[in-house]
Symmetry: C2
Subunit: 201 residues, 2 copies
């Protein structure tokens, strides 16, 4: 049986990672979402245990101490982490797992799991990126300016990923990511068993 795909979708703050991932999960019910943990405050509509595990700083630190994270990082003064959640075990069972992680966290995962599929989302333009960050209504002028500056720095990190998708529309971006997943499943390196030619593939 083919091992599941570890799909990591990342991108600078404000590129719409969350929305694109939701669309993929709704289109591909066979893909499981691995929920991240964070100490940041929930945004309107976000539910604990759905978008994130919302933890206090103390809880987060005890998860670190208990070895519960694949990776964790501090971003804009908040902690973010990817819980292990038996990821390796689930991949070996053939389950595809989608992780939505910030730029820094995704590279930490890439160092540990090189066979994952690392997809970097880009906003269609600088103007649109600014509009998206402002549009959240959760930023102060200072945090907005800091986020824009950091977004530009983060975009360069995209060069270390496997694929780059411009998020010009949710539908387009999701279609492209679905093509990437189809192609990845067809890689010879994931299908060596097919060459044991015994009458069927």
């Amino acid at each position: 049986m083919q091992k599941g795909l570890l799909i990591v979708v990342s991108g600078a703050s404000g590129t719409g990672k969350g929305t694109v991932c939701k669309k993929i999960l709704s289109d591909l019910p066979e893909v499981a979402y691995s929920i991240s943990a964070t100490t940041r405050a929930p945004r309107p509509g976000e539910v604990d245990g759905k978008e994130y595990y919302f933890l206090s700083v103390e809880e987060f630190k005890s998860w670190i101490a208990d070895g519960k994270f694949l990776e964790h990082a501090e971003v804009y003064g908040n902690f973010y982490g990817t819980p292990l959640n038996k990821i390796e075990e689930r991949l070996n069972r053939g389950e595809d797992i989608l992780l939505e992680i910030d730029v820094q966290g995704a590279l930490n995962v890439k160092r540990k799991c090189s066979e994952g599929v690392y997809i970097f989302l880009l906003p269609p333009s600088l103007e649109e990126l600014k509009r998206r960050i402002e549009g959240r209504g959760t930023e102060t002028p200072e945090s907005l300016s800091r986020r824009m500056k950091n977004a530009l720095a983060e975009i360069n990190v995209g060069l270390e990923y496997d694929y780059v998708v411009v998020n010009d529309s949710i539908e387009n971006a999701a279609e492209k990511i679905k093509a990437i997943l189809t192609a990845e499943r067809l890689k010879v390196s994931r299908n060596e068993d097919k060459f044991n030619f015994d009458g069927g593939f």
Copy 2:
């Protein structure tokens, strides 16, 4: 501008390379087909300058002497070759070029053009492969038996390709190859210019 894709579709004799390639070319008019040359006799319906350049052994040897081939090889006593046809120039202009080559020839091209996309087609089963080779009606019992034996040997070579697609139906195989091409165009290594963030991607 993004360089065009060099798309190489190969597979053991009788896996249906030609039919699948025709479907891709009809679905994707932006992809150009690069015609191979051969000294084998045309099969019913094959046209010189369309499916192949049908050359005499003398003509083929003079093409070799004139440096007109990217690669050439002898298969089942016939010569096959991939004419240069300004491939590199056309790729640099952004043109996608599809090559349908036998297993041996494709690996020769791979050694020269590692950035190409190497796709290996598999038949759905041994039985189906036999049916397809017989179905041509162009084989003697000896050549059929030799082709089957060689097909099994050729299939192992598929491990050196990038992608493997089972040709269970022309439509399925073509859809999968189209997803591969979409994904390949999204590779970071083909899109480094997108990270020169100057207001648009």
